[in-house]
Symmetry: C2
Subunit: 250 residues, 2 copies
């Protein structure tokens, strides 16, 4: 695990040396890198040349020590007494995340959510390009959504191979998700973003990330529940404003 890009000039470490195993980046760190990246872009547009770990941490909403450790993991160079060079750090993080190469994405399932995802600006603006849309509903096939024609899901396998699609987004109903995932995997897709509320079973070399909007709300609901029961505490059980809604078993 020799840290290759260590030691040479800080300016251009980006070679064609894509054949480089990454140091074992902690998963938690990886999950934060995109956030740092976004904050850095904002800072850059605001005209900042350099930024301190304190400043960047604030912009990203994390602890500054954590941020420094994260950046140190990827061998990034800051300058003591000064901070991090914004442009350089952006390049570094984009390189690590593999964003220097635009990745082809396909989207399966064009219900409400899929429709929105097809038009979501945040994808294109951050290095991803949706190159194909699929749905099982014949009546949707052929329809153009945000400049892209919807194809029938039967073509998914073929097109995924042709277009060298690396990432598949599943926005189908849960019942169809596993079958779609199977087709994607067969077509060589090795990363899946799953919006369907179900567990996908895939080979171990395929990465799946799941986003479940209702789960997020349920987690918030728990905290609401907790807070509601706490507000009754201070100063005794005074009249909690809406406390009686509490449908608590006797």
């Amino acid at each position: 695990m020799s840290q290759q890009r260590h030691g040479s000039t800080p300016g251009h470490v980006r070679g064609d040396d894509a054949v480089q195993a990454f140091p074992d980046l902690p998963e938690a760190t990886i999950a934060r890198l995109p956030e740092y990246l976004r904050a850095l872009h904002n800072l850059g547009e605001a005209g900042a040349d350099t930024v301190s770990s304190e400043g960047l941490a604030a912009a990203a909403g994390v602890n500054s020590a954590k941020l420094r450790k994260d950046l140190s993991h990827l061998g990034s160079y800051g300058t003591r007494g000064v901070g991090y060079d914004v442009t350089l750090l952006i390049e570094q993080i984009e390189y690590v995340l593999g964003l220097d190469q635009r990745r082809a994405v396909c989207l399966v399932g064009l219900g409400n959510l899929g429709h929105a995802l097809a038009g979501y600006d945040g994808f294109a603006s951050r290095g991803f390009k949706i190159v194909a849309l699929f749905d099982a509903d014949e009546s949707k096939v052929g329809e153009h959504i945000h400049g892209l024609a919807v194809r029938h899901i039967a073509d998914l396998g073929r097109v995924a191979v042709e277009e060298k699609i690396a990432i598949g987004v599943i926005a189908t109903p849960p019942g169809a998700a596993q079958a779609v995932a199977d087709v994607l995997v067969d077509a060589g897709v090795t990363s899946i973003l799953n919006f369907a509320p179900c567990v996908l079973s895939v080979p171990s070399n395929v990465d799946v990330r799941k986003v479940d909007l209702a789960i997020e709300l349920q987690i918030l609901s728990f905290h609401e529940h907790r807070k509601a029961s706490l507000t009754a505490l201070p100063g005794g059980r005074s009249a909690a404003t809406a406390g009686n809604q509490e449908a608590v078993g006797s």
Copy 2:
């Protein structure tokens, strides 16, 4: 709603009073409870009366020991030698998550994503009801989306109070998100689900959860990048590949 929580769970459960939070419930556990709940609903519809930790764990995609520990945290009762009663466990988890009371949700920002969220089935079917839509764009105000009229954001504060909205969903562009959050907080909203790619600053009593679709893709991109660098590049000067792809074994 017959919410029969077990009366005398071990330890700290202080009666059946509403004033019972679960302050010591690990955050990681909370995040998994909705997943268990979904799996349980599926099992229940499939006709299962009881389920073992092994079976439920498989359906939820987690380790069975973890599942047992999670459930034990909330004082839930399974039956040794048998498993968990599906119906009872559903009630327990729904109670803990506060889902026995339908929570009013408002949605701010009706671009592509907001539009989809407004029509997302998963909300209503899992205890949440969107009661109001807001947007800053005058041309959208008055429009009906999935049976609900869009109101102007200037009414947000008043309506949020009137409708006792507890959870706000922000689907605006990032530039507007903080202002919306401020209004929500002023109106007494204590939980926010933020889809805007930016950090929100709120009082400590307000919970914010963030969902950033692009970040998920970027995380997947990293893994793609990593996987690509592990496979020997056919045409490249891959002299050192033997050592590099050894990253797995180390």
